[in-house]
């Protein structure tokens, strides 16, 4: 195979990574942006999405696409509900103190991980892809499901962007993000906004988990990598900036695809880490962030 097709394949793989990463990281960015909460348990919401997808898929008989469609709806909603509960029981009581919530979400991380280990077990289990199409290019065949992942992520992210910029809910979230006391003085119920934001952020991570599970299988420890990569993306993009998060996810995803293909996955991780270090030193507010 010539260089061109190789590069195309690498870019396509990179796009899949970028799509899943953008979903997970935008959830993290949203929660940090609006609530100033660094959610260390974010990766576990991703894992729960995948694990719940497996449960749903194994419980629902019938064709794979039906089981998967059900998982696509049920898992993010269930995880969002769980996050809302965690918000009410833990974060709200800490008054969303930036430091206390870091410790609390570390605790949540272990609880969710151990719960998954207990209920789901230590094995990695696959979920069948909803369909078995292959896109046949002149040089190689490509999984139609992976293209679906890219398209689905793009649609959801466009929806989130529209929500934030063109709806009342988005306006309320952005106002709360800027100044929660003044938001209150205009009738905004900040507690409800926070609960909704935390649920939405968790739901996005879970959705990313569902989308990835036909490609990588569900495992109770699968939350670590996405957490780390989401943080990398959010730091590079600018804490709390949705646009920056999307751009950074594309950069990290595509370069991961290309470098992994032509050199090694380890080098890709090293370079991503180096990029974070450079951003932290030379532009600590991130590429798209504003200094506060």
């Amino acid at each position: 195979m010539a260089f061109g097709p190789f590069l195309l394949l690498a870019l396509m793989e990179g796009l899949v990574t970028a799509a899943v990463l953008a979903l997970a990281a935008s959830g993290l960015a949203l929660v940090f942006g609006v609530m100033r909460v660094v959610n260390v348990a974010h990766g576990e919401f991703f894992m729960l999405g995948a694990v719940i997808a497996w449960f749903v898929a194994s419980l629902i008989p019938g064709p794979a696409w039906m089981a998967f469609a059900a998982a696509l709806v049920v898992a993010p909603l269930a995880v969002a509900a769980l996050a809302a509960l965690a918000d009410a029981l833990v974060l709200k009581r800490l008054n969303y103190d930036p430091e206390a919530t870091i410790v609390a979400t570390i605790g949540l991380l272990y609880m969710l991980q151990q719960a998954a280990l207990t209920v789901y077990g230590p094995d990695a289990r696959p979920v069948a892809a909803p369909f078995d199409l292959r896109l046949q290019l002149p040089w190689f065949g490509y999984s139609g499901y992976k293209l679906f992942v890219i398209a689905a992520a793009a649609v959801v992210l466009a929806g989130i962007w529209a929500l934030m910029t063109h709806t009342r809910a988005g306006l309320v979230m952005r106002a709360t993000q800027v100044d929660r006391d003044v938001a209150r003085a205009f009738g905004i119920d900040v507690d409800r906004v926070y609960m909704g934001t935390f649920a939405l952020g968790a739901g996005l991570a879970a959705l990313a988990g569902v989308l990835i599970v036909p490609i990588t299988q569900a495992h109770y420890l699968m939350g670590g990598d996405p957490l780390l990569l989401s943080f990398i993306v959010v730091i590079i993009g600018g804490l709390g900036s949705l646009r920056g998060t999307l751009v950074a996810a594309l950069v990290i995803g595509l370069s991961d695809g290309v470098i992994s293909m032509f050199f090694s996955p380890t080098l890709a991780k090293i370079l991503a880490t180096l990029l974070v270090a450079l951003v932290l030193v030379f532009r600590p507010q991130g590429l798209f962030g504003t200094r506060t």
Partner: protein, 231 residues
């Protein structure tokens, strides 16, 4: 209209207000004066429900606000223009006004009313609030509060750092609101501005309103100005 009695409040262990008695009447401008740190801003925040009150009552048209969380208070006719403006900076001018109008379903004629009062905002509707000049920002802060169609408007040093023409504009707006029957509470440090606008003046010191005086009984160099503001 607004009635504060024996209000004690502060920030956690720090008590700032120690038994404040204060009231504001419909169609009047009540000015609040006092040295830096006297507790003027804290009093307005307490009325808005943004600092915890330990003792005392705050009533609005006879309704006790004590058990109302902050976000339920504007619905009863309270609006606040915070010190330092505190606009939603990254949001556009139009969006800031929209937040102001959230409770009333963002009614068109209310927004028109605000834009007639401050025409300069109309030219800048699509601009992020943070990019406005200081005077324009203050107009927007007031306009945003007016979108609530308040019965009681709390203004915390709205003329701070503004040039005379801008101050005159804000004074006109305040007097117009007064004529419309709004109870205006105005924190203001400059004596001439107070003498031009106020019906009554409350002087704060040591976390209390020490004196409440009819403005027509005051003049430049009055004892109260010397005692409580130092000018």
């Amino acid at each position: 209209m607004l009635e504060v009695r024996a209000l004690t409040a502060g920030y956690g262990p720090v008590t700032v207000l120690r038994g404040v008695d204060f009231d504001a009447r419909a169609g009047e401008v009540t000015c609040l004066m006092g040295r830096n740190g006297a507790g003027k801003t804290t009093l307005l925040k307490a009325i808005m429900g943004l600092v915890e009150t330990a003792e005392g009552t705050i009533r609005l048209s006879g309704i006790d606000l004590h058990d109302l969380p902050a976000h339920r208070r504007p619905g009863h006719g309270l609006a606040w223009v915070p010190q330092g403006r505190r606009l939603f900076g990254p949001l556009t001018v139009a969006e800031n006004l929209e937040v102001g109008g959230l409770l009333h379903g963002h009614r068109r004629e209310v927004r028109e009313h605000v834009l007639t009062l401050f025409p300069r905002l109309r030219e800048r509707l699509a601009q992020p609030a943070a990019t406005l000049s200081g005077g324009e920002q203050q107009m927007l802060a007031i306009g945003r509060a007016l979108c609530l169609e308040p019965k009681v408007l709390l203004l915390d040093e709205p003329t701070e750092g503004l040039q005379p023409s801008m101050i005159a504009l804000i004074r006109d707006a305040v007097l117009r609101l007064k004529a419309e029957g709004v109870a205006v509470v105005l924190v203001e440090q400059r004596v001439d501005a107070v003498l031009k606008m106020a019906d009554r003046v409350a002087f704060m010191a040591h976390g209390r309103v020490e004196e409440m005086v009819e403005a027509r009984k005051l003049e430049h160099g009055a004892r109260q100005f010397l005692d409580y503001v130092g000018v």
